[in-house]
Symmetry: C2
Subunit: 253 residues, 2 copies
């Protein structure tokens, strides 16, 4: 909507893939070098872009700081964190908290397994939206039309043979999840990893976040993991209660 800002912001994802020099930036934007220079300077002043010694540009420090502040101002996260820690202590497995935003689902908190098994996930990273248990819960709660629209425009990568294959299957799965009030991912993202998840609800009953417990087959079987379901649900409910109760509407400014 604003050409100048649009161009400037297009630089960021470009630099996210690695440092680039002025010419490359100008080329990618399809603008004159001098224009790119001025945009980069403005980004630089705001700390979003950093100029390394070889004159090339890379993403800057303020970006981290902003992301930090943003994630910390999500109050669900603060409320939920101690519960995640406790669940992790009780089960020993990796615990995730995720929210839905726009057409993505992303992890906003994580407590790592005590077992020396690494899962590839990271706070701030988008979730495999078509298969993750937390994603199913968050999307299942969307109003019907939105759900259909979103399901239609998603890609359905077959991470494993058990991945959800297409929009129709996904919508069926969401309907089932919506009914039962919890969700699983049994090897749909990574062959040997299973998850069980439960929703966190706001005062109005809408799903505001979802939490999951994940563990690889080598540690516990899917059936064993499912025995944790009541505990996961109780934890999610505890978070829901606390979140609904407090909700301090900060309106100072």
């Amino acid at each position: 909507m604003s050409q100048t800002v649009d161009r400037a912001l297009s630089i960021l994802p470009l630099l996210a893939r690695g440092p680039a020099d002025l010419g490359q930036v100008a080329g990618s934007l399809g603008v004159h070098k001098s224009t790119a220079l001025r945009l980069l300077r403005t980004l630089h002043e705001h700390g979003l872009v950093y100029r390394q010694e070889d004159q090339r540009y890379r993403l800057g420090a303020r970006l981290f700081a902003l992301a930090q502040e943003a994630v910390e101002s999500l109050d669900i996260r603060e409320i939920a964190h101690p519960h995640l820690v406790r669940l992790n202590e009780e089960t020993g497995h990796t615990v995730h908290l995720a929210v839905h935003e726009e057409s993505e689902v992303l992890y906003i908190d994580k407590v790592d397994s005590r077992y020396p098994v690494r899962m590839y996930s990271r706070v701030g990273r988008p979730v495999a939206i078509t298969v993750a248990a937390v994603a199913k819960l968050l999307l299942a709660d969307l109003p019907e039309p939105e759900r259909r629209a979103l399901a239609a425009k998603l890609d359905y990568p077959m991470y494993t043979p058990r991945s959800v294959p297409d929009a129709a299957a996904f919508l069926r799965e969401l309907a089932a999840v919506r009914e039962q009030g919890w969700a699983t991912d049994l090897g749909g993202h990574e062959e040997s990893i299973n998850c069980v998840a439960a929703p966190v609800r706001g005062a109005d009953g809408r799903v505001v976040a979802a939490m999951s417990v994940s563990a690889p087959n080598v540690v516990v079987t899917a059936d064993e993991l499912l025995t944790l379901l009541p505990l996961v649900r109780r934890t999610a409910d505890a978070i829901s209660r606390e979140y609904s109760g407090t909700t301090p509407a900060k309106d100072t400014a």
Copy 2:
């Protein structure tokens, strides 16, 4: 340098302090509501800003993704990480990796203590630059004039009675650190926490990062922590060698 972009980017730190509605944003920028609207829309299209259900704006998801990609594209971090993990396993203490950028020093990686003691630090967060051991190492390596200029414009908050009080003391400390090739922070940031740090150097000998081991008094005394110095230095040197050796200059594009 570019007014439009400048205004648009000024919105980000504003929203970092919590959600705001259109009027508040326009007010803070000193522009007409319609102008603010269009800027916000552009930010929104790029995913940097998210509009929550109550119509207010908050920082958006792509910001996390960008910060992630940025931090992951730092190859020092990738090389160093396994070394940090090992050092953590050997000592049991919290291990940090930090780099210098612009007039900040920031943590780019961290492996938490196995002891149940929490330190307040976070990947991406700026370091207490006047007292942290890693900061001393990174700044000590700057060319003389830059070092003086930076020291002069810093603030010297007295976190504790042992904090570095002013620019003169700081420069003396940096000179000492430069000589000895390692640094400490003995209760200069938090009364009961000590750190020892060692530099990671590039092929040209310049300090490109610094790593530290931190532990509270209640776990080990400062003297005991200092006995780890040789181990910390060996680890840092190992990272330096690996970093200097490989340095894959990616020039594909």
